[in-house]
Symmetry: C2
Amino acid sequence: MSIIKIERKVLEKNDAIASDNRRQFQEKNLLVLNLLSSPGSGKTTLIEKTITNCKFTKKIAVIEGDVQTELDAERIEKLNIPVVQIVTNGACHLDAQLVRDAFKRLVDISFNLLFIENVGNLVCPAGYNLGEDHKVTIISVTEGDDKPLKYPAAFRNSTAVVINKIDLLPHLNISLDVIRTNALKINPKLEIFEISCITGEGIEKWCNWLNSLMR
Amino acid sequence: MSIIKIERKVLEKNDAIASDNRRQFQEKNLLVLNLLSSPGSGKTTLIEKTITNCKFTKKIAVIEGDVQTELDAERIEKLNIPVVQIVTNGACHLDAQLVRDAFKRLVDISFNLLFIENVGNLVCPAGYNLGEDHKVTIISVTEGDDKPLKYPAAFRNSTAVVINKIDLLPHLNISLDVIRTNALKINPKLEIFEISCITGEGIEKWCNWLNSLMR
C-alpha cells in the first residue's frame, strides 16, 4: 500500500468525521471558525480581543490546539470563557477526530460562537476540514508581504484573512498594500481585516463581521 | 499496515539518505546548517546578511526550501551565490531525498558553507535529518516569548537559536530574557544569538561562530 493511498484514506476518514462535526455544530446552531496562522501571529490575542471588545449578545467557547503546553487555554480561561485544550504532542495540525473529542466536553454548555485555534503552522492545518463554517487565516505584518504567495493553501481555503499587528507598520519596511494584493491574487473572494490588537484598530469591523455571520 | 509503521519506514528511509548526504558533505569538507523557523522569522534575510556582512574567506552556497514560489532563491541569486530552489508543492518540510537531489546541482561548484533553508514551519522540519552538521532555529521577537515551550522539538534538536528582529523590542511587550530562559529550559546547551538584520546588531558574533565551526 503506497503512502499516497494511506494519505487519501486519512483525509477521507477525516472528512467523514468533519461532516459529523458539522452536523453537531448545526444542531447547536453554532458559528464555528477555524483560525490558522504561523506561530506568534496573534491567534490567541485576537480571540482575547474578540471576547473583551466585541459587544456580542452571543456567547463564545474556544477549542485550543497546540503542539505542547496549555498556555493558550489558561489565557482564555482567565476571561471566564469555556475552553478545551488539545495538545497534539508533535502533530502539526488539528484533525476532525481531535475536535470531535474536544467538543464532547463542551456539549452541555450554552454558546453560539466557537473558535477553534489550530496549531501554529501555515502549512498543514490548511488541508484539514474540521467541520468549521469558515477558516480564517491570521498573518502578522512582521512576517513579510510575500507570505500569501509562499503559503497559498491557507489563503485559498479561507473566507477571511486578518492582517495583524498593523501598529508595527511604522517600524517595518513592509507594504500593507502588497500583502493585500498578494492575498487577493491567491483568493479574490477573501474578506480582509487590518487589525492591531494593541491599539484596537480594526477590531470593530471584525466584530461586525462576526455578528453578521451569526444573524 | 498501520500508519505508524509507514511513518517509521519513512523516517528510516530518510535517515539512510541523510547518512549518505552527510558522507557527501564531509567528502567536500562542508559545514552544513539546516535553518528552521516559522514563516517570516527572517531565515532568508539572515542568509543575506551572512553573505554580505561576514568577512569569510570561505564560500557559501544555499539550498532554499519553500512550499511555493522561487522568491527566496531569487533573493540569494542577486548576491551572486550558488542557490538551488526546492519547491515542495505543499509538503511541510524538506527531507533528505529532496536535499540529495538539490545537492547534485551544486556538486561541481566550490564552496565551504552550505545553508539549507527549510520550509517556514516550526513543527515538521524539526523531525527530519537532512545530513546537516547543525540545525539552527530562528525566532522573531514578534512571535512572543512562549514559543520555545510551545514548539519544543525545533529548539531541542538545534545547536543554536537566533533571536531575530531585536530592533523591534522597544515596540513590543516581549522580554528577551524570557525567550532566552524558555529556550534554555528546552535545551540547556543552545548557543543563543540576538540579532537585528536591520541594524546589524549581533551579526558579528554570529559570523564569528560560523567561522569557528569552519576551522
